[in-house]
Symmetry: C2
Subunit: 175 residues, 2 copies
């Protein structure tokens, strides 16, 4: 048995390597827009309404401190604006500018091109299937999409258990 096959055939491994490759392509596609991947990610959510940086952090999954830098960049390029919330002056409400809206739209299009290229090896149906499975999995894992009762805890325990208490499973006696 070749162990490389063992690991190459692991779904998680495939996921990671493919994400790497896809990421490279996407970054490349976004280059001319002066946007990094995470910038677009944030920008896309900004357009949904007047959100605070905190909100954006949670929605995008980025760290709150990272968000500062991202917004800085977007603001420097004139894609978004910072405004203190009138009701809660601690918050910075982030709003997209017309420039930002334009760039977002163009960048998303460019991204789709890149994505299409990346997924080209798959047929129409396979692509749809892939998208569906990924969506399901993402919905199940993203804390943002959880119904409040099941809550993060339940799922974490449910699936993490395999990882955390693997003292029952494969153990490693730290020599």
């Amino acid at each position: 048995m070749r162990s490389s096959e063992t690991i190459s055939s692991a779904t998680g491994y495939l996921l990671l390597r493919l994400a790497n490759l896809a990421s490279a392509r996407m970054e490349e596609a976004l280059l001319p827009f002066r946007l990094r991947g995470r910038d677009l990610r944030v920008l896309a959510f900004v357009q949904d309404g007047e959100l605070s940086q905190r909100d954006l952090s949670q929605q995008t999954g980025l760290d709150r401190t990272t968000m500062v830098a991202v917004i800085d960049g977007l603001e420097r390029n004139g894609y978004v604006r910072r405004e203190r919330s009138p009701t809660d002056r601690r918050k910075q409400l982030i709003s997209v500018t017309t420039d930002g809206r334009t760039v977002l739209s163009e960048a998303l299009t460019a991204l789709r091109w890149a994505e299409d290229g990346f997924l080209a090896p798959l047929g129409e149906d396979e692509r749809r299937q892939l998208h569906r499975q990924l969506s399901l999995l993402y919905a199940a894992h993203d804390p943002r999409c959880q119904t409040d009762d099941t809550s993060e805890l339940g799922l974490l325990l449910g699936s993490d258990a395999a990882g955390t208490r693997h003292s029952e499973g494969p153990t490693r006696h730290t020599t």
Copy 2:
């Protein structure tokens, strides 16, 4: 139209975020083995035969300089050995130790546990489908997995073309 839906529904986006989540779990699962994700990745390929660090770099997709550090770590833990090739004394042939073999096997098992947990939200069939699509896509993109006759060149051109010529697509006049 909410643009967050636009980007959240992008397959590439899902791929990236899921890879992030999966990666965190896998790293966590490997913790007790004193292995990082990339360590295991390398270790798995080491077992395939006596490969040079150069070979490993290409196979795993890691940088040649990164490989030095990875091998250093693996060697420090006694999982692999460095030996100069007798036929080409520039090369370092990396071979796995019995300790390394044991750890690899255990770690792979732990990884499967974690993976199962992560994929739990999907049904049996969905999981299989997902794995299949990912495999296909990976095979199409990874230069290493190409059948030797078609050769790296052919498929690279075949699939890269769609991504490379996106200059035909939406362009951005760098003002």
